[in-house]
């Protein structure tokens, strides 16, 4: 029984991810939940390294850990933390868990039962994405999408600024 380092890495990273995700879901305190999300996001970056695309891993760390997570924490800090007046009812909890369970089994079902995947993954050559490949694709075949993404980003920037501005007149947003 020979186990590669890849397997070990995968197991460790998975432990990080799942632990973070469970904590983020079930911790009562929202700040702790946001911090435990850090482990999940970082672990997923590790997955990307295992999946042979370093660039995405770096992007994940930069955007998610460095951007989105910070944004979330800012959101927590900037808003009123006084709530939890009405905790969830038992009925609600049960229905949510039940629904999620059903959805999980639906998602899992093809993974467990389908045979096509099994045939396909026999190939030796796994895909590999060099940063230069991605750059080339973005500037040639995918240039339109790239530009579109840029435009969307710009629009969102303006829209967020518009949304967030303090308006003295009462009709707000």
């Amino acid at each position: 029984m020979e186990i590669l380092g890849e397997n070990i890495c995968f197991i460790i990273i998975t432990a990080f991810i799942l632990g973070g995700a469970f904590l983020a879901t079930f911790l009562k305190d929202i700040t702790s939940a946001a911090f435990s999300l850090f482990f999940t996001l970082f672990g997923i970056a590790g997955y990307y390294i295992l999946l042979n695309s370093d660039f995405i891993a770096v992007t994940q760390v930069m955007v998610y850990v460095g951007g989105v997570l910070i944004l979330i924490i800012f959101g927590i800090l900037l808003t009123n933390r006084d709530f939890n007046h009405n905790p969830n009812t038992r009925l609600k909890k049960i229905s949510v868990y039940l629904t999620s369970l059903v959805l999980f089994s639906i998602v899992l079902w093809p993974i467990i039962t389908s045979k096509k995947l099994a045939d396909n993954i026999k190939g030796d050559r796994y895909a590999l994405a060099l940063t230069s490949d991605i750059g080339e694709a973005l500037t040639t075949d995918w240039i339109f999408n790239f530009i579109l993404a840029g435009i969307v980003l710009l629009l969102i920037l303006i829209a967020s600024a518009f949304l967030i501005r303090r308006n003295d007149s009462s009709n707000g947003i």
Partner: protein, 121 residues
Amino acid sequence: MEFNKLSSLVSLFTEPGTQLEHYLFISGILFTLGLINCLLRNNAVGILIGIELILNSAILNFMAFWHFLPQGSDASPSGPLAAIFIIVLVACESAVALAMLLNLNFKSGTIEVDRANKMKN
């Protein structure tokens, strides 16, 4: 119904290398957890956390499928590209979400989504 794939989940501990199923399984768990987060958190920021989890599981799916499914010789790195675009969208989404959150806070003094029910009935 055969559950032969169940064994491939266990193969992580028996055979060298990871397989597609492992990633999909983890991504499914992440998705479900994100869903529960969205549904049970009363806090708007908590919902945002749930959405991040769900989107992450989606990106992970893209990457895993791209990596493990065989491709032609001149294939473009479609998985990473999809991931990049999704990440762009996620950045946008969280920016807008934060803006709305703060606005909600200014308006109603809380970010409890249950109390933002002016459209009731």
